[in-house]
Amino acid sequence: MPVKVMIPSPLRPYAGKRDSAEFNARTVGEALGHLTTQFAELRKHLFTEEGKLRSFVNVYVNDEDIRYLAKENTPTKDGDTISIIPSIAGGVRE
């Protein structure tokens, strides 16, 4: 069941410059697992060393924040869009 994972621009350099990727996954955690297996450099940007999602990375299934669903166990279905929304401050200044 393919779900689409949207990769935001700050993280694209670690994901082969891709803006999205599709995976067969039954949960959000599974989809992010596939994503960080395919793009290993992404892992440290999304997960802590203990394997928990970092607190400044928000993940949505369609328009709902997974923190208010079942977190990484949130089930996904065919055609769902998973969005990774990191905090951005401004981005102009270095």
Binding site: P8, S9, P10, P13, Y14, D19, K44, H45, R54, S55, F56, N58, Y60, D63, E64, D65, Y68, S83, I85, P86, S87, I88, A89, G90, G91, V92, R93, E94
Partner: protein
């Protein structure tokens, strides 16, 4: 600290418009959604803009043009040549002037009927509450995490709406925080990213139109809040992708456990936001790695002497096209994968634009066993200043 066009203390709410104002705002007045009642609300509104840069430019211009009666402009920065690509409030002749004052002059010319105060100061935990208290709505057009958390917390403590916008390269976000039943910035992002995990300067930059669009969305939300019309972005995060030209929105929820706006807040006064965000000073320092360096003049002398030096340029290919020192291009992000291209027996001088990325590269290569490696201090910018002014700075 503050300059003001007209005295603003003890002013009673305006109850009418002059004939000149009626003519100026006629395209508002003939809309039933604004009308005389709405225009008077605008005239009596007090809006504080934090930042007069990319987002602040359309904000200032549209809010002044719309007749927001009192505008405050907070910025400690001066106009730089590289600002003109997107900060459309400023002209070339403003370069070197304080932004808050240059913006005040421009907006006063646009609309002499409103009061504009410029605050040439950095927003801090010591002055934020005092600055905010005389305004109804705070608009966040800043460019760094410490100020965003500061603006958020000060708005929550004072119960004021915070019209939020932020941009990165081709993407923008906008929402309204700080409304009584709505979420705040900390509900969305309880903590900032650590400095090492924010995008490096290699991925910086912004298309000039983008802050124009996001700042205009903030201006629209501000005006709707003043008019009490329409559906505001409360509890909704608007995402704009300029490359795909797509708008999306995500639901934002008020977090009952939020440390500042939750039911049992643990943050009840302003804190040290630089410490909170893990940065000291106004600029987030790069990785604080100490590596052996060479100054541009020393490098020039050694090259002139004919020393065998391998120049390693760790910038991106599009930066190499702007200017280069004829070095071997190997972007920092590819270094791990392509380290075998380098000969550890040769003496290497690594450089980037400013010296930050190349310091990371030198640190990495030293850990990988390279012994004869130096970082060009100050990067290509310092090379242009100290050795060869024909190399453009960017």
């Amino acid at each position: 600290m503050a300059t003001t066009a007209q005295p603003q203390t003890g002013a009673k709410p305006a109850a009418s418009l002059s004939n000149e104002e009626i003519l100026r705002y006629s395209r508002h007045l003939i809309m039933p959604e604004v009308g005389m009642e709405g225009q008077l609300k605008l005239k009596n509104a007090k809006v504080l803009l934090i930042g007069t840069g990319g987002l602040g430019a359309p904000l200032g211009l549209y809010l002044a043009a719309a007749g927001v009666g009192r505008l405050g402009l907070v910025d400690f920065d001066v106009v730089d040549f590289t600002n003109l690509q997107r900060q459309v409030t400023f002209g070339t002749s403003d370069v070197g002037k304080p932004k808050s004052e240059a913006a005040r002059a421009r907006l006063s010319n646009l609309n002499p009927d409103i009061q504009i105060q410029s605050f040439e100061t950095q927003l801090t935990s010591a002055n934020a509450l005092e600055l905010f208290k005389d305004f109804d709505i705070i608009v966040d057009g800043t460019d760094n995490f410490p100020t965003r958390y500061l603006v958020n917390d000060a708005c929550i403590l004072l119960g004021k709406p915070n019209v939020y916008g932020s941009i990165f390269r081709f993407e923008g976000q906008a929402t309204v925080f700080g409304m009584p039943d709505g979420p705040c910035y900390r509900c969305l992002y309880p903590e900032p990213p650590p400095p090492g995990l924010v995008p490096s300067c290699a991925e910086g930059g912004v298309l000039g139109v983008l802050p124009g669009i996001v700042g205009s969305i903030q201006a629209m939300e501000t005006i709707k809040l003043i008019l009490g019309r329409g559906d505001n972005l409360i509890g909704r995060l608007l995402l704009f992708d300029a490359l795909g030209m797509k708008f999306r929105e995500l639901k934002l929820r008020k977090n009952p456990n939020c440390p500042v706006c939750g039911t049992h807040p643990t943050i009840t006064k302003l804190i040290d936001y630089y410490e909170f965000c893990g940065v000291r000073g106004e600029e987030a320092p790069g990785p604080s790695v100490q590596v052996p360096e060479i100054s541009p003049r020393e490098l020039k002398a050694r090259l002139d002497r004919g020393d065998d030096l391998f120049i390693l340029d760790v910038r991106e290919p599009h930066e190499y096209q702007i200017c280069n020192l004829k070095g071997h291009l190997l972007p920092l992000g590819e270094l791990t994968r392509r380290v075998h291209e380098l000969d550890s027996s040769r003496e290497i001088v690594a450089h980037c634009r400013s010296g930050k990325r190349s310091a990371e590269a030198v640190d990495f290569l030293r850990k990988a066993g390279f012994r004869k490696i130096l970082n060009l201090k100050g990067g290509i910018l310092a090379w242009s200043d100290e050795v060869d002014p024909s190399v453009p700075k960017y």
